[in-house]
Symmetry: C3
Subunit: 353 residues, 3 copies
């Protein structure tokens, strides 16, 4: 990433395929929100809720869709997908990562059998185990521990205090946030006369290119066989992925999601925060699940799924929740009423005949 300190609109248009409206020679050096941006900043309009700020924006330029250009009081970059164009431009303008060191910090402890690319940046107090392979331009933040026989693909970034157990395979262009633990033992125990015995977890974890893994997320290694995260999956903070789970490419998983052992999630899914999936189920491609849902069986059709109950004033909720505990009885009573009514109606019909 050859981050410059500023770009002209023309340069940004050339780099992103957007069209310039207005003065392509102006320089912008930062991104900002539409209502706070100044003349040396660029902003974007993607959410209609913010359209009201367009007329008064002080931004040097606005990234927007063709339909909004007529109302734009300043320079613009026109894109059919303004948010994606903004993402590319924000990446160009982002300050360089502050963990970057040149080469290997003298306090890093690296096994003799490990292979570290010359262009990699290994931070202070990093520990790297036997036979690990660290490829070009990898950045490993301070205090991270990389287990034996791990491999980390080019351009991958580990923030500080990440832990990889042995034999974790990371692809390229991955970002792993601090506190994430990859390759910890799956939760496997056999019961022998009431006592739990550990079942060694001898599989691995394999993570594809362009995955992002949030802070304090945990991904367990397979029991036998591997836990697999396919390319371009995005995982938020404090997610728990159990042993032998597989997640299909381009799936997005919000914070606190828990996926139990051996479950398979398809491609292009979106799983809302704090939703949990039972073990040994399958979720097909293109499934959207709202937050806090309890998914206890496989989902075989793309679509939008939910569970739970809405919130309410506690007094009303208490009454309703109490009724829930007798809902089956209520349904039986309704059924009984229907029977009585039907009999009564039949009788009165008989009389009428």
């Amino acid at each position: 990433m050859s981050n410059q300190s500023s770009y002209t609109l023309d340069e940004l248009a050339a780099l992103t395929g957007a069209a310039v409206h207005g003065n392509g020679d102006i320089f912008v050096k930062e991104v900002a929100t539409i209502n706070h941006a100044k003349s040396d900043q660029i902003t974007f309009l993607a959410n209609p809720l913010y359209r009201k700020h367009l007329a008064t924006t002080q931004a040097g330029a606005v990234i927007l869709s063709p339909t909004d250009v007529a109302a734009c009081p300043t320079n613009a970059l026109i894109s059919p997908n303004p948010y994606a164009t903004y993402a590319h431009i924000a990446q160009l303008l982002a300050p360089p990562n502050t963990y970057t060191v040149v080469g290997i910090h003298p306090t890093a402890i690296i096994a003799k059998t490990a292979t570290i690319a010359e262009s990699a940046s290994i931070g202070a107090y990093v520990v790297i185990g036997d036979n690990a392979v660290i490829e070009n331009d990898v950045i490993i933040g301070a205090g991270s521990v990389i287990g034996a026989e791990c491999s980390i693909g080019a351009q991958t970034l580990l923030h500080p205090n990440v832990t990889l157990y042995a034999r974790v395979k990371l692809g390229q262009h991955i970002i792993i946030h601090s506190g994430a633990i990859i390759g910890s033992d799956g939760f496997g125990f056999a019961n022998e006369r009431g006592r739990w015995i550990k079942v060694p977890q001898v599989g691995a974890v394999i993570i594809g290119d362009e995955v992002e893994i949030g802070a304090n997320t945990t991904i367990d290694r397979g029991a036998l066989g591997d836990t697999i995260i396919e390319e371009n999956v995005k995982i938020d903070n404090q997610v728990q992925i159990a042993h032998n789970v597989s997640i299909g490419a381009h799936t997005v998983i919000a914070g606190f999601v828990g996926i139990a052992g051996s479950t398979r999630v398809g491609r292009y899914c979106m799983i809302g925060g704090a939703t949990c999936l039972s073990g040994h189920i399958e979720v097909c491609d293109k499934v959207v699940i709202s937050g806090m849902a309890m998914i206890t069986s496989s989902i075989t059709q793309p679509g939008f799924y939910s569970s739970g109950t809405g919130f309410d004033n506690n007094a009303r909720w208490k009454k309703n929740a109490a009724r829930f505990k007798r809902l089956d009885e209520l349904a039986r009573r309704v059924h009984q009423l229907e029977r009585v009514i039907t009999q009564m109606t039949e009788k009165s019909l008989e009389k009428a005949e």
Copy 2:
């Protein structure tokens, strides 16, 4: 904190504004529960459930309210708010923090451009980035990583293995527990032809005075603009606070709470464990939410809110949960019954006329 090893009751009364009942000259050196305290320990009575232990307590002194003093068999400190008085006294009697080192541990790696107060204690293997500012009496536990341009206000304590990303601003008298990650990237991605593109998170995190943040809690930096935690907010373990959230002063957040992006929580709120708040909503001041609630829209009135269903024997629960999935149909059937009954009643009234 000039922790002494013991205090007389008179000294504690003077320091906390409580009144002495009995012998003010006795020394106490530790706090203990009312049923385990010994003659050199002080205890408290705040919860009526423990009043039964008052008559037989062996404590040197009891902190209690004026209404309980008559029944107290030993010395007492009388306070209108015994639990708060206990909190102050327990702070005085608490053993000094064991992480405290004098000055900077020789293994700490501190950027040349960082500013560290002479009275700060920087633990072993701490890494501090460029232009960071660490103020008086700050304690940073071993293995913590402080990103570039962070600032940490006076008297703030970071337990070991805390991670601050760049540009996190901490006020004074803050406590951050181990494993907490502050300033990690918010979860922001733009979709471009099915592929997720990272939206750089360029905002910061600003945390007010007297905040406490629990172990393994994560607080993401803003996307644009900042994530803000106001003064005296108390956050338990494993809480997740997303980008651009703001939390008002004096709000208390229990473990596992998740707050999605851009949501604003008011002042003096209490949020129960494992409750989740959707993104882009507002919760007004003085809202209390029970645990495991799903808050999917704004709350505009102070009060007590809940969601979920009570637990039950699995067999009964299963029947009720199955009925829930046809609750709309059940309601329609009840409505239909009401119509039929109304018709029948009207007919019989007609006949009667």
Copy 3:
């Protein structure tokens, strides 16, 4: 653990009490799944779903129950509990832990007053506080921080980046995964005129033999008195155990479970993922709770308990969830219908008389 690189079937039979079927002289060196195992690997058949693979397995040997031996096309180890026998054999065949170093890594910082057994392995950048006691064959992974006055029993393994606060007592044969935080302050605050004051947490954490604690799990120290985890308890990733909780022996706790303060869980319980228990309740022995359940009061009878609602297509769920918010009213309407019908029936009976 004197892990050999391979064993004969006869040796494994002798070590586990299983009976050999077929050739006891063959060597196996790894475990594998029944459908992937090769001739130098051993597998097991415990779940009937996998019985279909028995006829075609290429494994050198299969661990199975007496009833399956007739159908086994290869060598077998016969056991009444094949999964437990598998667990023992997988432990024998597991590769040795890669964190093991001989003695104390030169970068470890150990208080002069700490006692470290000669056979312990202390990893790089470990920090150990005053008066800590580390017993025989303990392994402490890189970057872990052990507070003052902790004790760690023989054979216990801490993976990298574990944090123990002061005065945590660990038994023998414990495994603690990376990112776990043991002994952090419980969540205790007194309110004084709207402002929260910290209540010092001066208790400890005591953990029994053969406990396993998952990655990024947090266990708070007691406020007064201790948090207690009894022997052979197994705790998954990202579990939160609050101050003064006690967990009985042989209980299993899945990921994301939260247990609030002072709650007591019995022995031989199984708690499903993401279930939360309120504070100050008791769960008796041999209770099984499904995932995502909300346990708000004590459970006094062994059995299987659940809460929540099943998931559904979002459109249907929305309708049902809306009805839930008026469930009490619906129940009242049903009751009213029942009264009307009873009156009508009585009237028609009167007429008939």
